[in-house]
């Protein structure tokens, strides 16, 4: 279907569009026109991705600037989905326009997922694949080959050099699978094809990390121009991604490995001195001149790059005391030894970077300046030494990255030394957490560099929190409600059990037998009335375990087994995926199943329970974070001091976004339906923090229910949902055809006109004259059917 937003022709690959999709596109276009960042919250399952892509592609193709789109998503499956969606869109566009547009779109993921080399691709771990790939593709390996040495090269990578550098793959949209297939056919490396084609792509789809993690972003996303449109989809967790990308954990074991790495380097240097001293000398003289920046040429096989923000790039020359390779090694050794001494603590310590640096200087005479250059110097050294098995140096690299970060940032970071893994542990296993507290640090270059950044997700409420935490100003903040022809989801807050005793997972009463029993009856009742699948979310693994064992003791699980199978998510990914598979089978063959998950686990983030896979979701307890953790405490304090976000506000915001995310799991489209139950008395007061679309669907009478009331409500709801429902019934209300859009436009314009007219009239003080020129058509639904009939006939 084709329609216009202002003067922009938009081709939408489906015959119908949801009103909220239309509104979303309009707002998106406004933002793009204005230039600026926006935060958009759109209900889950209403086709966010396709509306986003179709508008931006239309925008790209229509305006002469051809602004590039960088679409960031979270997981590989989401990237693949977006690519497939884009492929369908482009197919539709070419059909509609009658010609193929010059258009290229590629997805990028790790080497592990895109490797074709027969032996390398069989490796299990991503870092090993990276390292082996490097040893087959690095520039110096090729040089060696040319010199006649006997070294292995990757054929797939070599073939790339035979092609034109800007035309490695033909125009079109390649899904990751498609790219692999194309690579296999033409014997070329999909990973490097995608990497090298990036500047010539109209749309790039990859994971957050390629843009947010300064270590990777520097290499991958460097040459993207300023006017790119950057989209972060599923961005409700973006602050945590930012923080994780700059945080480092160092354990005693990794320090030991780092020491070994340093000694290995030392040996290599000795070797090189005896065989090829010129190389070291030339590296040294380059460093003296401070030319390394120009020289580096930023090869794609770089070992590590500087974890400091790009605009903070160290343009200066490397300090004199680490210029020589052997001095640098002794420097590293000293630093590692120092960290080892720090590991011997017996109680938890938290420290700011400046005080860490002073102590370091007192003990080892390491100053701040050379520490900052640590990562860069190590990269240069590794390149000079032409090391092959880079994965051995991973821990050393980590230490170097840590050194650079700790010397660069005074504020927004904290060092926490924990000698014990858990409070109960008696055997020390010290870990040094270097934690970023400020999400804005990692994302700042993105906001600085790109003129339009779109942050979107199904659950972003409260919207104003994100600009505050990430340190940007949004030109547009919008939350869309869901238009529905019938009430297809039923959110409820259960605050009491059938015995009128309050239920809550708050720490004091969470293990009360009464509370646990009430939760148990709630679940049993729902298991009885709900068809197919039920998903249950707990605040933590710990609580889930304790409540399950208590249910077992009370015989509640036995009751549930009469109706449903029970499956449990565990921290182990493979076990969980097996459980999920079984769950799906049980739902499909009619047995029905209950999945016990954790609100911050993998399932709550990435798995959809559409249609019969999830007819009800129960959120047992408010999913607060574990507040005793040192890291969280430090972050809360930081937020309070710097962004004026109060501890309780942040905790409650964080809990509610996870709760909303859990609820959104069961509703993946407008023809889907499901019951959403929030079972905790504290939810009643947190209701305003739910996303608009959930909040609007919740009636006031359903916010303070007891179990029996909730069950009878749900029973009613499910009965209504079981009535036959044609998609025809939705038309005009929750799905729009072209005619509806036009009507909507006309109405909007008329309203605008009336508004301006009224202003005009008021301006001229012509009292008493009411214009009757603008008559809004309110008989909205009457003649729609005819239009639709016509559309259907076409």
């Amino acid at each position: 279907m084709k329609f216009f937003i202002d003067d922009l022709p938009v081709l939408f690959p489906y015959p119908r569009i949801y009103p909220e999709q239309y509104a979303y596109m309009c707002d998106l276009k406004k933002t793009l026109d204005a230039g600026g960042h926006c935060v958009l919250e759109m209900p889950s399952g209403t086709g966010k991705t396709v509306s986003l892509l179709s508008l931006i592609v239309a925008y790209q193709q229509h305006y002469p600037e051809h602004r590039k789109l960088i679409y960031c998503s979270r997981t590989m499956s989401e990237i693949e989905k977006a690519l497939a969606e884009l492929q369908a869109l482009m197919k539709y566009r070419s059909q509609d326009l009658g010609f193929e547009e010059e258009f290229r779109a590629l997805g990028l993921t790790s080497r592990k997922n895109l490797c074709l080399h027969p032996s390398v691709k069989r490796e299990k771990s991503g870092t090993v694949v990276d390292a082996r790939c490097r040893s087959l593709t690095a520039g110096f390996v090729k040089e060696k080959k040319e010199r006649g040495d006997e070294v292995d090269l990757c054929v797939y990578h070599e073939n790339l050099d035979l092609l034109e550098p800007h035309n490695l793959v033909p125009p079109g949209v390649f899904t990751l699978d498609g790219l692999l297939r194309y690579g296999e056919e033409h014997k070329q490396c999909p990973y490097f094809s995608a990497r090298r084609m990036m500047p010539w792509c109209n749309v790039i789809i990859y994971s957050y990390h390629y843009l947010l993690d300064p270590k990777i972003a520097e290499r991958v996303s460097r040459e993207l121009s300023k006017d790119c449109i950057v989209v972060f989809d599923e961005a409700h967790n973006i602050d945590n991604v930012c923080i994780e990308s700059l945080s480092i954990d160092i354990s005693e074991d990794s320090l030991r490995k780092a020491t070994r790495g340093a000694s290995n380097l030392e040996r290599k240097i000795e070797e090189m001195k005896s065989t090829d001293a010129d190389k070291l000398q030339s590296e040294y003289s380059k460093l003296v001149e401070g030319l390394q920046q120009a020289e580096q040429a930023r090869e794609e096989d770089q070992f590590i790059s500087n974890p400091v923000l790009p605009d903070d790039l160290l343009k200066e020359a490397v300090p004199g005391n680490i210029r020589r390779a052997e001095h640098f090694i002794s420097f590293l050794k000293r630093f590692i030894e120092y960290l080892k001494t720090r590991m011997k603590v017996t109680h938890t310590i938290s420290e700011t970077p400046p005080s860490f640096l002073t102590h370091l200087k007192d003990l080892t005479y390491i100053e701040r300046k050379p520490l900052r250059f640590c990562a860069e110097r190590l990269t240069s050294l590794v390149r000079t030494l032409e090391l092959m098995n880079i994965e051995d140096y991973q821990p050393l690299q980590e230490v170097a990255t840590f050194a650079t970060l700790v010397a660069t940032y005074d504020k927004g970071f904290v060092l926490i030394l924990e000698p014990f893994e858990s409070e109960a542990a008696t055997v020390p296993n010290p870990i040094l957490h270097f934690t970023c507290l400020d999400a804005a640090i990692a994302i700042k270059p993105v906001f600085d560099r790109f003129s339009s950044v779109v942050i979107t997700s199904g659950t972003l409420s409260p919207l104003e929190m994100y600009p505050k935490m990430l340190g940007f100003t949004a030109v547009m903040q919008e939350s869309y409600s869901m238009t529905l022809a019938r009430r297809s989801f039923l959110p409820m807050i259960v605050t009491r059990g059938s015995d009128q005793a309050q239920v809550s997972s708050s720490f004091g009463i969470r293990n009360d037998p009464g509370v646990v029993r009430n939760y148990g009856t709630l679940l049993t009742e729902f298991a009885r009335i709900t068809p197919d699948g039920i998903v249950v979310f707990f605040p933590s693994y710990l609580y889930m375990e304790s409540i399950i064992s208590m249910w077992q003791g009370m015989g509640i699980l036995d009751q549930i087994w009469n109706y449903k199978l029970i499956l449990v998510e565990t921290p182990d990914a493979q076990e969980s995926s097996l459980a999920l598979e079984t769950y799906r089978t049980a739902c499909c063959n009619g047995r029905g199943a209950i999945m016990f998950c954790v609100a911050r686990g993998k399932v709550s983030e990435g798995i959809d329970f559409d249609h019969h896979y999830g007819r009800a979701v129960l959120c047992i307890g408010v999913p607060f974070q574990y507040t005793e953790s040192r890291i969280l405490k430090a972050r809360l304090e930081f937020l309070r001091e710097n962004y004026r976000i109060r501890e309780n506000d942040f905790l409650s915001f964080d809990a509610m976004r996870h709760a909303a995310q859990c609820l959104g799991r069961v509703l993946r489209g407008k023809d889907d339906y499901g019951v959403m139950v929030l079972a905790d008395r504290r939810f009643e007061r947190k209701r305003p923090q739910l996303p608009k679309w959930i909040n609007q669907a919740m009636l006031d009478s359903e916010t303070n229910l007891s179990t029996d009331m909730a069950v009878s409500n749900a029973k009613n709801f499910l009965r209504t949902m079981a009535q036959p429902f044609q998609s025809r019934d939705q038309e005009g209300i929750s799905t729009w055809g072209l005619a509806d859009i036009e009507k909507h436009e006309a109405k909007r314009k008329a309203e605008e006109e009336r508004a301006t007219h009224q202003q005009f009239m008021n301006g001229h003080k012509m009292d008493g004259v009411v214009t009757s020129t603008v008559e809004v058509e309110d008989e909205y639904d009457d003649d729609i059917d005819q239009d639709l009939m016509m559309l259907d006939a076409q």
Binding site: P319, E326, P354, R640
Partner: protein, 348 residues
């Protein structure tokens, strides 16, 4: 299994190389080293061997003479690093030039490398004699600047320490304040609710809804007022903090260093020019018109009497003062042309 975690590995396997007793037998064993030879031995061995004065190291092949008072606990696990840090401490103490003292960054970097080279020489025992001699010579030649730089360093360290404690204290206060605020808020809400309940209990049933609404509104108003108040205070604090920082910005202190053969690229020391006397007109000199020159004395009938009167002179009265004043008064205004100025003003 025990070797999986660091502590037990470190603790249980350690055996004193001299007496061969292990931590298993003596759980309180401490190891000491002597910076002469860095051989590790347990405390009891040190007591046993060196209590009666200096003796040679008991480790086979090492014939260094050690004294008990130089024994100390080991900081780093790696003896090599321990030794290097000791050497470094000594060299850094002497070669403590600061970046401000150099002409260019390049020169400073060269200095750093040179220092590193010397430390490496001492650590690897190559060229020890020459390096030591160089160090000695430098130390005697630049006594003054070494001292000055040490003083600067100490001052920096202490000021940093002071700043840190101050910051910590401030953070603690802020934390406390925030906690109090939350507590107050909670109490207020509680009080408001109780108040409302009591009013509901006493009032008629008709205005129950009105009372409830009113109570809610009051609470909302209070909380919004509190927030804006909070904001205001915070902004003020932030402004204050900013100005403090500016004030405390350390000014790099001037230094004096004599030129030395060892370090190149040191900045030439400029002695600051002596300050000129204060000039309120910033060097503006009015146009001079010499209408007169002041004479030593002017003939005057009645002044002559005064001039020769010792009583006047004894009172401190100087006639020249009087002449000068009179002359100025007589010629005052001669350089001004009112018409011109008026004309100028009207033109402007």
């Amino acid at each position: 299994m025990a070797s999986k975690n660091g502590i037990s590995r470190r603790d249980e396997d350690e055996v004193c190389p001299v007496c061969k007793s292990s931590r298993y037998l003596n759980p309180n064993m401490r190891f000491l080293i002597n910076p002469e030879c860095y051989h590790k031995m347990c405390e009891s061995c040190v007591d046993r061997i060196f209590s009666s004065g200096p003796s040679s190291c008991p480790v086979a092949g090492c014939r260094k003479t050690l004294r008990k008072n130089r024994f100390r606990a080991q900081t780093f696990e790696d003896i090599g690093v321990e030794r290097e840090v000791d050497i470094r401490r000594r060299v850094m103490h002497i070669l403590n030039r600061r970046e401000e003292e150099f002409d260019s960054k390049r020169a400073y970097d060269d200095f750093l490398e040179q220092r590193e080279e010397m430390i490496a020489n001492l650590v690897c025992r190559t060229d020890v004699a020459r390096t030591e001699a160089q160090l000695q010579r430098y130390a005697t030649e630049n006594m003054q600047s070494i001292r000055a730089n040490q003083a600067i360093e100490e001052e920096e360290a202490s000021s940093f320490q002071a700043r840190m404690t101050l910051e910590q204290e401030e953070a603690r206060l802020r934390r406390q304040l925030a906690r109090e605020q939350i507590e107050n808020e909670r109490r207020e809400i509680q009080a408001g609710r109780e108040d409302m309940l009591s009013r509901l209990a006493s009032g008629s049933s008709a205005d129950a809804a009105a009372i409830a609404r009113e109570g809610h509104k009051v609470l909302l108003k209070k909380s919004s007022a509190r927030r804006s108040e909070e904001d205001r205070i915070r902004q003020k604090q932030a402004a204050l903090r900013g100005s403090e920082l500016k004030r405390s910005g350390l000014s790099a202190s001037a230094d004096m260093a004599s030129s030395s053969g060892l370090i190149k690229g040191l900045r030439k020391i400029k002695t600051p020019e002596p300050e000129k006397p204060y000039d309120p007109f910033m060097g503006y000199v009015p146009e001079k018109r010499d209408y007169y020159t002041l004479q030593q004395s002017y003939p005057s009938v009645y002044l002559d009497r005064v001039k020769n009167d010792t009583r006047v002179a004894a009172g401190g009265y100087d006639l020249r003062e009087y002449y000068a004043r009179t002359m100025v008064e007589a010629f005052a205004g001669l350089g001004c042309f009112v018409e011109d100025e008026v004309a100028q003003r009207s033109v402007a």
